[in-house]
Amino acid sequence: MSHELPEHPDWLWRTPDPKRAYDVVIVGAGGHGLATAYYLARDHGITDVAVLERGWLAGGNMARNTTIIRSNYLCDASAAIYEHALKLWETLPEELEYDFLFSQRGVLNLAHTLQDVREGIRRVHANRLGGIDAQWLDPDEVRAFCPIVNTSPEVRYPVLGATLQPRAGIAKHDHVAWALARKADAYGIDLIQGCEVTGFVRDGERVVGVETTRGRIGAGRVALAAAGHTSTLADLLGLRLPLQSHPLQALVSELLEPVHPTVVMSNHVHVYVSQAHKGELVMGAGIDSYNGYGQRGSFHQIEHQMAAALELFPIFARAHVLRTWGGIVDVTPDASPIIGSTPIENLYLNCGWGTGGFKATPASGRVYADTIATGTPHPLAAPFALERFTTGALIDEHGAAAVAH
């Protein structure tokens, strides 16, 4: 049987009017902006904070992602920050007093070619030495772990094995955002919706405030957390960033009795699927090659996705697509985020999480808050500085996943 979702808390957040100024103004009330606000208060006692959101709170990519959480990344810097996030996820429901259905059901990354196998094993070895749980499964072990995966050697791209991260899993995206929002609100932080930042107030080389659709708001520091919209904001300051915003789509089926006990990702065949708590299959589709701000992509992506899904999961043939949607993901040249200060004083940047930033939410917020509060990069954030594009010290996660959910 599927489950009714757990009860929400009776109280979530206020709907305040903006004050004239704040110590810190965070632009964007997605998961990352909200987590940043929360950790500014929790870790640094900074509560004179506003989170400005152009639409409804957590209505951007936070409302749209396939909720996969894992930390089995290849590069040291990525593995470190995602593993930090995973550790935070493990205690966050209790800390935030909100059961947001964090479920450590494991994530399988399937290998279909010898190249995939090499990459998978490389990642398993690196993860284990990095202190991240990782296993290599052969096809029989894959079948045992997820019986509905087609492990027949007869298919076009047989499953040759998989990496498994047992501690990985999913969480209910909206509820995560609300849990963070609720605590941030309780610290006295103003979450201001329907408030779009349309410009910046500058004093020489410094940013001292923002212009919004609800008037000018002064700010000691301005922290961008606007995901796919970051470049349009940075453009207002003449700051060009190595970011491209692309449509990324996802879809859900109707509610189904439990059939899929874990999370399966396959880069080669292009499938990312889990079964959410209520019972719907949640599936990510391919990223569209072109730039797009329309929160929708091209339908052939969905059709390819379905063909691929049926290769791996013949049992899904009769399931139905109930709803499709798109988000706007901000992609960097090395598929890794940018976190840190900018050439403009008091302006901070956290973006470029692309197709995979949900899983990082708590760590992203925490290291960003630390960077903002102290004015120096948090050690986990340091490798993700903007300078890497000049020095060439890229953190290339392309090998790890075409769409790195």
Partner: protein, 955 residues
């Protein structure tokens, strides 16, 4: 008695051939023309599975795609019984909003079609038919789409007249004319599920599913149409929505329009004693039809204090009591409704006066109408809340589209016909045809309705909204007024939050019927002045759920993805090759002999290559003819090394980088003539390299006189490798002087083989052995392969696959792009400084000077020899600097194994690895900690482990 609720006559049924079906294990009969829902109602069955979470009894509530309760499992899960056509032998099980996936694999075929149309009309009701007719008469390619088995839309459920005849005769005449008109396609049983950019429509056609178990599986179950339309007419009608009052989910509470459908279209009596509740004119027709069918209509409850006089009069004449300014405030009944409680409503929608209870087994409800704007919204058209109609209606179009009839809030039949006709003509005209709106025949049907009085929320007789847990807002999700209230009390203001907090509108029906009601309820509880302030959630496709298999189409199983094979493939398959997928190619990995595993086969193949002669099909390499006066200059810009100075008839190995300086591809290029180079690429990158070259030529250097032509499949290529390869070649090409002097390493010759085949033979080597690559037009590939094997027979020639190829090249320290590199590796990292020209510009050169790229301590390619000669390091194993470094986690890693093999030639295992400061560590030890806890030590060496001087290759 069978079908006790079936009317004696009428309906769109074929009564001559009753069909049998089972529902939850019980057998019933019905008629072709029935839906599962209508047949159940005919048998007196209204109750379906209880609700998912609260286990409330639930019944069939609608007659269409908006059905929230009657979900069933037939072959597929979660079909609405109101959309399942009855057929003999149908067996359905009711579902509580939760489907079950059948383990048995689904063999049904699904088809796709790509279409183009001048005018697509969606909806085959009066408006759509009129539009299609107008467009079709102009000669425009017209597609008429309707999701029902037959055309007519709302006319199928009434008794309108058009042109002085029963409306369905008009429908039939229009259908006949359309069928006879060239360039018209009528798609019934076809749902437009998506409206995308540039008038791209997706239409899901049900082809044979309704026939039951497929007689001919080849005629697919479904078909997905992709239609690019110049102009679109949306005539999708309107949805009637429910009303929110206590107990509004009880079986027997049904949409008033659905009741009318059941009576007139399906000849079914959904109840025997009815109460009708309405906010608008339309349900009067239902009440009158019920009365005419002999149903006792206990009351017609109209929220409006002053219902239109003519309607009220007609009701009274039919013996129906009209209770004006009132609403149903509650229902009773164990499962099915047994009575409705009715009270008067004050102008502010509060209750006043006494409550009256009327016995009934049917409560027909019309909470109002909302145009079906789903596709309009998907097309990015804007919506506007029309206060008079109390509904969101289409406002500004964003594409070449118009909405007509009920889909834009026009509810009178004459208006629907008029708008349809005009829109069809307009669309055809804009599509470039001469079209005139045909005259609209006179009609008798719904007149322009009087204004409705929407009552979004009928208060309970007591208590506060916080406690109204039986006022269902989204009954499939069991979400109530209390839930909405709770979300708002928690601080939520946006409908998007309330949707996600309560899950309203996210169920199988996507809130098709209840969505507008939910907006109304939310606006009431938020204290908004109008639903306009609340707005809608986003309309997303698909309009109705579609199966994964339909979207996958034919590209399943063997057709999922092309399998690319070479001209020699039949031989490989016949000779037991084990294949490896390389991109879309199937390449032989090794050729096991009986009893051999891969290791044994590969060792044998390697020994043959190093000891005698071996042959490999290397036809999959990408091949490009680069031709033109500037070909050399062009390649100089693309490769890190120089090609302009290459002698005609000679070959050279090259590496190309991306602008960021990282290795992109490598391969050997032969200069065939002054202006003609024959360039080869890795198998996986063939298409990417061609695109890359074209991109630079067309967008950066159009002044260069160079043309690139892909000849990958023009040429089949056979590598003949090993010390005895020269002898084999001599035999194969008797006219060619194969001597060392006449045919040196890195040159190419044209020759005619002994069997007459013309060949381009290159003396190049990816194995470090004396070797030749024989290129022939691919239709000769198999013949040449067989000739090579025949010529080599006396030398013990051995076919070998990619695995042996990998071992041979690794023994020589030759990297494989993508295996020993990963997008972060420069040519220098591979130890190939020699290939990076100092004195010319080439793509990527500037990047080598960047701080990180110029770092001295980068990871570089080296060889590894495990101390234990039998220990095979896993590819991907991470390396640490010394045994004591194993503290942590995290453990500091200095590199990883990229390639690792057993070598027949070396009599031991070896590996290639990328290691931090690797070249400075030659002679030192590094360690690979393995998951099984062992720590494997290996000595760092030069990557070239065999014949470093190249004597064998040059021999």
């Amino acid at each position: 008695m069978t079908q006790p609720h079936r009317l004696a006559d009428g309906g769109r049924l074929d009564r001559s051939t009753p069909v049998r079906f089972t529902f939850d294990g019980t057998e019933y009969t019905g008629y072709p023309g029935d839906t599962l829902a209508s047949a159940l109602l005919a048998n007196g069955v209204i109750e379906v599975a209880p609700s998912l979470y609260r286990r409330r009894p639930r019944g069939i509530a609608t007659a269409g795609v908006d059905e929230p309760h009657a979900l069933v499992q037939v072959a597929e899960p979660m079909l609405a019984a109101t959309t399942v056509e009855l057929h003999d032998g149908l067996s359905a099980t009711s579902l509580p909003g939760l489907g079950r996936l059948d383990q048995a694999s689904d063999e049904a075929v699904h088809d796709k079609m790509y279409g183009h149309a001048d005018v697509v009309v969606i909806g085959g009701g009066p408006a759509g038919l009129a539009a299609a007719l107008a467009a079709a008469r102009s000669g425009a390619r017209t597609v008429l789409v309707d999701d029902q088995p037959e055309l007519g839309g709302a006319l199928l459920s009434g008794h309108e007249e058009i042109g002085g005849r029963p409306a369905l005769e008009w429908v039939e005449a229009v259908r006949a004319e359309l069928s006879d008109t060239a360039e018209v396609r009528i798609l019934t049983r076809s749902t437009a599920i998506g409206y995308h950019d540039q008038n791209y429509l997706l239409i899901a056609e049900r082809r044979t599913g309704h026939l039951g178990p497929q007689p001919l599986p080849a005629a697919g179950r479904g078909r997905l149409w992709h239609v690019r339309a110049r102009q679109v007419v949306l005539a999708t009608g309107a949805h009637e929505h429910p009303m929110v009052f206590a107990g509004n989910d009880r079986p027997g509470v049904m949409s008033a329009a659905a009741v009318r459908s059941y009576l007139n279209r399906y000849a079914v009596l959904p109840g025997r004693r009815a109460v009708v509740l309405t906010t608008n004119d339309h349900a009067y027709g239902t009440a009158l039809d019920l009365a005419a069918a002999g149903v006792e209509v206990a009351a017609l409850v109209d929220t409006r204090p002053q219902p239109p006089v003519a309607l009220a009069e007609a009701a009274r004449r039919a013996g129906i009591e009209v209770l004006a300014g009132s609403a149903v405030v509650g229902t009773s009944g164990d499962t099915r409704i047994a009575s409705a409680r009715i009270a008067e409503l004050a102008p502010d929608d509060t209750l006043r006066g006494p409550v009256r209870e009327l016995g009934c087994d049917l409560l027909a409800v019309s909470g109002g109408w909302s145009p079906a704007v789903h596709l309009w919204s998907q097309s990015r058209g804007s919506l506007r809340f029309d206060e008079a109609l109390a509904a969101f209606v289409p406002a500004q179009a964003a594409q070449q589209v118009r909405a007509v009839g009920a889909a834009r809030g026009t509810y009178d039949l004459a208006g629907c016909l008029r708008e349809g006709s005009a829109a069809g003509a307009e669309a055809a005209t804009l599509a470039g045809f001469e079209a005139a709106a045909p005259p609209v025949p006179p009609s008798v049907g719904d007149p322009r309705p009087a204004l409705p009085r929407p009552v979004w929320l009928v208060p309970a007789e007591e208590g506060e909204p916080a406690t109204w847990r039986d006022h269902f807002v989204d009954s499939q999700r069991d979400a109530t007024v209390a839930d909405v209230h709770r979300a708002i009390r928690a601080g939520m203001r946006s409908i998007e939050h309330i949707k996600r907090y309560t899950t309203i509108g996210t169920a199988h029906d996507q809130g098709k019927a209840a969505g507008p009601t939910a907006i109304g309820v939310i606006s009431r509880l938020l204290g908004a002045s109008s639903p306009a302030e609340v707005g809608t959630t986003t309309f997303r496709g698909p309009y109705t759920p579609v199966s994964f298999a339909l979207l996958a189409g034919r590209e399943r199983g063997g057709l999922f993805d092309p399998v690319r094979t070479t001209s020699i493939h039949p031989w490989h398959a016949e000779h037991g090759a084990v294949f490896e997928n390389v991109g879309q190619w199937k390449r032989p990995r090794y050729y096991p002999r009986p009893g051999e595993d891969m290791d044994a086969a590969v060792l044998r193949e390697c020994r043959a290559a190093r000891g005698a002669v071996a042959a490999m099909d290397v036809s999959t390499l990408g091949k490009i003819d680069v031709i033109g006066a500037d070909a050399g200059a062009f390649l100089d810009r693309v490769y890190t090394n120089g090609f302009a100075g290459l002698a005609v008839g000679s070959a050279r190995y090259g590496i190309m980088c991306r602008p960021d300086g990282m290795v992109f591809d490598d391969g050997v290029t032969v200069r065939l003539a002054d202006d003609h180079y024959y360039l080869t690429t890795t198998t996986g990158n063939a298409a990417a390299v061609l695109d890359w070259l074209e991109e630079w030529l067309q967008t950066e250097w159009p002044e260069l006189r160079v043309h690139c032509t892909s000849v990958t499949e023009q040429w089949a290529t056979v590598a003949v490798v090993g010390p005895e390869s020269r002898a084999v070649l001599a035999d194969l090409a008797p006219d060619l002087d194969v001597s060392k002097e006449a045919f040196p390493f890195m040159t190419a010759r044209q020759a005619t083989l002994s069997n007459g085949i013309p060949a381009r033979i290159c003396r190049i080597s990816f194995s470090g052995e004396l070797a030749y690559e024989i290129n022939v037009p691919s239709w000769y590939g198999l013949a040449v392969w067989e000739a090579v094997l025949a010529a080599g027979e006396g030398h013990g020639i051995t076919p070998y696959g990619t695995e042996t190829m990998h071992v041979l090249r690794a023994e020589k320290g030759y990297p494989i792009v993508g295996q020993d590199t990963d997008g972060t590796v420069t040519p220098q990292d591979l130890g190939m400084e020699w290939i990076v020209a100092k004195h010319k510009q080439f793509i990527g050169k500037r990047s080598f000077r960047r701080a990180d790229t110029a770092r001295a301590d980068r990871r570089r390619l080296v060889g590894l020899l495990p101390l234990d000669r039998a220990e095979l390091l896993p590819e991907g194993a991470q390396l640490i600097a010394d045994e004591t470094a194993l503290t942590g986690p995290p453990v500091r890693m200095i590199g990883h194994v990229t390639s690792s093999y057993r070598s027949a030639a070396l009599g031991r295992t070896f590996a290639l690895a990328l290691v931090e400061r690797g070249r400075d560590r030659i002679g030192e030890k590094v360690y690979a900690p393995l998951p099984d806890g062992r720590l494997v030590a290996a000595t760092v060496t030069e990557p070239v482990l065999l014949d470093p001087k190249g004597a064998r290759r040059d021999g």
